[in-house]
Symmetry: C2
Subunit: 432 residues, 2 copies
């Protein structure tokens, strides 16, 4: 991969020329949200870039509707154009931004356009990248499912009988998905205190995170017609980090028999830049292998073993005093089901996907110690042990004023494919 002429790209930047993730920004000159890509510490404004028809047709020949797509307040229209178009556009942008660009006069040597189209990320605001019709959260993080199951039912009954046969998942709440940086109010809910049988209504005392990979659907299937696992990659737009904030005490009381509800629907945070499926292709890995696992049903059988991605994931907790501790490090390879398998299962009965639908992987934890876990529930054994923090502090669950930042990246310095930050700060349930 060549390098980029864009100035000052840190070798550790998530947004190298090898990445080119798509997002939605508003700018001082144009407050209407519209499309951009991230490169180094800059955002390249795609609405500005494609506003000139000559330049647009030279850069993206034979994709006439791109200017309209990039002027939209979400990426759904672009996503629906399909993976061959995403690939073509990403490649053209990599060429445009490369030191070896075939078109230096278009942008690199065009100071007027550069000043308008290439903006410091610090000068733009990012927005939710997609209009999310439905959000589904799976439970494909094997070590998380095992650890949580063992905690409540013991190691011999840790996994439910269906777990190795199908990607267990549930319908989440789309309306409360927010973009990184949005503050998160501690939810009030019904909880049981001190083992008493009658609930109280109070702010959650077990506010937790869930470290997940999120997958945005590019285009939908016809209702009644499933998506074959072998074709599912063509329905995937790209990936984000996802923090599925959870109120464990609310969830414990409410979830029988129909699953999580208010314990989850107060907020879920996604990172703003969608890493295209193509950008992750070089980082394929095998998912979790379980000895003696029964053969999966035919509709879930994939043609390749390397069906997940090895994204290095980290969780930072920053206290109100400003001390930051990395409390978890793991990888997105610790999934037992791939996103194509999740899509094939989700649509097996005919459920229609739509462009912009979000699938969550479920919490991702590694097989090792507590520092490989994607939730405080696991790190603290449901509040029994403390996680030690910088600044002589410690946590069982989150305190008001805490900021949680998820990070994730693949690849070597100088050619990293990363997600940037997925960040949220907790504020008090009682704040007016």
């Amino acid at each position: 991969m060549a390098s980029s002429w864009v100035p000052d790209i840190d070798p550790a930047s998530d947004f190298s020329l090898a990445n080119i993730p798509f997002g939605i920004i508003s700018t001082p000159d144009d407050p209407a949200p519209h499309a951009a890509v991230a490169i180094g510490s800059y955002a390249l404004d795609l609405k500005v870039l494609t506003a000139n028809p000559d330049l647009s047709s030279q850069l993206f020949p034979s994709i006439p509707n791109l200017p309209e797509a990039f002027a939209q307040p979400t990426l759904n229209t672009f996503a629906e154009l399909g993976r061959p178009i995403h690939r073509q556009v990403r490649t053209a942008l990599q060429n445009l931004l490369s030191t070896t660009t075939a078109h230096p006069s278009l942008l690199r040597d065009n100071p007027t356009l550069r000043a308008r189209a290439l903006l410091p990320q610090s000068a733009v605001r990012t927005h939710l990248p997609m209009a999310i019709g439905d959000y589904t959260d799976f439970y494909a993080g094997y070590h998380h499912a095992f650890a949580v199951g063992a905690m409540f039912r013991g190691p011999d009954a840790a996994l439910q009988p269906n777990y190795l046969h199908l990607p267990v998942g549930y319908h989440g709440r789309a309306s409360s998905i927010v973009v990184s940086g949005t503050p998160v109010r501690r939810p009030v809910g019904q909880i049981l205190l001190d083992g008493k049988p009658e609930p109280v209504t109070a702010p959650s005392r077990k506010l937790d995170i869930e470290l997940e990979l999120g997958c945005f659907v590019a285009r939908g299937n016809e209702m009644g017609r499933g998506i074959a696992v072998g074709e599912a990659e063509e329905y995937i737009f790209g990936y984000v980090l996802l923090n599925d904030w959870s109120a464990r005490d609310v969830q414990t009381w409410e979830y029988v028999p129909l699953g999580p509800f208010n314990g989850k629907n107060f907020a879920s945070t996604v990172s703003p830049w969608v890493v295209l499926a193509d950008a992750l292709e070089p980082f394929r890995a095998k998912g979790v292998e379980v000895e003696g696992r029964p053969e999966v049903q035919g509709y879930l059988r994939e043609g390749r073993a390397e069906s997940v991605f090895d994204v290095r994931l980290e969780v930072d907790l920053t206290t109100a005093e400003g001390d930051t501790t990395t409390i978890g490090r793991t990888s997105s390879k610790h999934l037992i089901w791939s996103f194509p398998q999740m899509l094939a299962h989700h649509t097996l009965g005919g459920c229609p996907m739509r462009s912009g639908d979000l699938l969550g992987s479920g919490t991702i934890s590694g097989p090792g110690g507590v520092d490989e876990r994607g939730s405080l529930l696991e790190m603290t054994e449901n509040g029994k042990k403390e996680v030690l923090l910088a600044g002589m502090d410690a946590r069982t669950f989150l305190k008001d004023g805490d900021t949680v930042t998820l990070r994730g990246f693949c690849g070597e310095e100088g050619a990293r494919v990363g997600f940037g930050e997925c960040r949220g700060r907790i504020y008090s349930a009682l704040q007016k």
Copy 2:
């Protein structure tokens, strides 16, 4: 209530002058979906009616944006205007359509406009009335929850410990909600056959219905701010019938520990005409009272006892041969939680509602025999007994070719407030 000059209104019509439900239609002259109300066997085209600015301002003084709202392909914009506006518009339409109308020249005595605006329902197509952001299904049908719980856990443990304390609910799938008349494909899914521990992938053998009342949200709350139970009525637009089709065998295998998923997300059918909250006001009733019930939490306490509605509900099953049997009769008063309580609980932790969100009551069954049940699961004790049908036929669960029609209405003949039909026909999982 006066009667209407609209011709040939059957006294048994659900759409008397006392009702005036809103829907979305397309017509031979205007294939773009837009707003209408139902009156007798006619649809009054509100886009045509309000296209003339003079007439619109005479009919609806001081609501200048109605023509735009009624030209939309969904009722969301109209719903967001709020209940005082819905009330004003419904009252004006009742006046316009009444034999005692103050404005006979506007429509009754205007044959040109009548021919264009007042169309037989048989000549128009109805569409999904709202763009549904999120769909939540509750479990507030007390006798259903008790009967199903008793079936699987015995009568002493029929209700889970949380059931009397909070409106149990789960997030459903919005993308597979369809309007009455849409055919429903029998879903394929993973099921356990004959008690074997390993699943097979096959068409569901336990395809069922769920008789529910659906509630559309008028307008949203700010994220992080709940809706007080006493204010929740102002957030309600209106009601429809809802058939939450269920594949019981798929659900049984998949639902632990995160709740129903593919057993539900293949289709849910709603009736096309939204009965406004105001139209149901005269039919308030007390919900289910349970002896020894613990006092509910403060945020769920309502100012009035009559917090639900007594809508008479019926379920018809029509075989492929055309024989129709009414297999269930009950009332929507058999709820233990009201929709305001559901809204207050749903938003307790700050979850944002949006205009068009759909809340399902959960299956509604009466306290009596099997003919008062809202699901075949209950009527047949999970397939152990048969429901006898006209035409020497019988069912445990649905067969391909079966049509299920839900009906519901309040009030006396000549002044009925009803929902029309919520209908769906099952076709084979194997059909190409």
